[in-house]
């Protein structure tokens, strides 16, 4: 047996690893469908974490059996909470997926950047304002609040 590796360590690393992988996927993925998958994975890690908090050494499942003496049981409260969380999670997943279907029908694409650009353009058009400030990450030096004289120039530069 590897020294220093305990059951506790393995389980916590798994749960936290799932949460971190899921959140990194939400931040990094370039496709909206992958974002939904990443959310599912992060939720799995969080559920595992909750169940781990109710674990108890040498205990049995919280179900009464016909036994002579009743051994110790694990904590039933986190299990009930996770039971609720899983069912709600699948409802949210279905809702997210149906929103994805609508986005695909509307914008014809699911890439995060393109959808965001099209959505911004649509919002700007419906609000009747010019969309002259770049929505991307700041590239180099840019004035914090563009002056009216500079905006025309910078827009021309962008186009």
């Amino acid at each position: 047996m590897i020294p220093g590796v305990t059951l506790e360590l393995i389980l916590y690393v798994t749960a936290l690893g799932l949460v971190i992988i899921g959140l990194a996927g939400v931040v990094l993925s370039s496709h909206l469908f992958r974002m939904v998958l990443a959310l599912v994975i992060a939720e799995a890690g969080a559920n595992l974490m909750l169940v781990l908090s109710g674990y108890r050494w040498d205990a049995v499942a919280p179900i009464l059996m016909q036994r002579a003496e009743q051994p110790a049981m694990v904590d039933p409260v986190p299990q009930a909470m996770v039971l609720t969380a899983i069912v709600i999670g699948v409802g949210i997943q279905a809702l997210a997926v149906s929103i994805l279907i609508r986005i695909r029908q509307r914008y014809g694409n699911l890439k995060r950047r393109e959808v965001a650009e099209k959505m911004d353009a649509e919002i700007a058009a419906s609000a009747g304002i010019r969309r002259d400030i770049s929505q991307d990450a700041p590239l180099g030096e840019r004035p914090l609040s563009p002056l009216p004289a500079h905006t025309a120039e910078s827009r021309g530069g962008d186009a």
Binding site: M1, V5, T6, L7, I10, L11, V13, T14, G17, L18, I21, G22, A24, G25, L28, S29, S30, H31, F33, R34, V36, L37, A38, V40, I41, A44, N47, L48, V51, L52, G54, Y55, A59, V60, A61, P62, I63, M73, V74, Q79, V82, L83, I86, V87, G89, V90, Q93, A94, V97, S98, L100, I101, R104, L110, K111, R112, R113
Partner: protein
């Protein structure tokens, strides 16, 4: 017993973490759904190991059956079901390499 639990948890942890990474980096969306179902599969076994049969059963029913059902139906409606989808390919780390996405 604790020794056995440790080995089971180790194998399941490796399985879940590697397939979680796989679900986010693999190019094909259907393979990603399959990998995500493997994550919830290992999770169900881990819940059973943690003496939570109720939660394990819920996770088995929801994660193995319903979640992959919903995601697969959504892939069919999203038009991402192709086995060799050429233009819809997306990778996790291709957000910055815009030229590759647009190609």
């Amino acid at each position: 017993m604790s020794e056995v639990e440790l080995w089971i948890a180790l194998i399941l942890g490796i399985m879940m973490l590697s397939s979680a990474v796989l679900a986010l980096v693999v190019k094909n969306h259907l393979a990603a759904v399959a990998a995500a179902s493997v994550v919830s599969l290992g999770l169900a076994l881990l819940f059973a190991l943690m003496r939570a049969p109720d939660v394990a059963m819920t996770e088995a029913a929801v994660g193995a059956g319903l979640s992959s059902l919903i995601l697969a139906l959504a892939l069919r409606r999203l038009g991402l079901w192709q086995i060799d989808s050429g233009s819809e390919n997306s990778n996790l780390l291709s957000a910055s390499s815009k030229g590759k996405d647009d190609a």
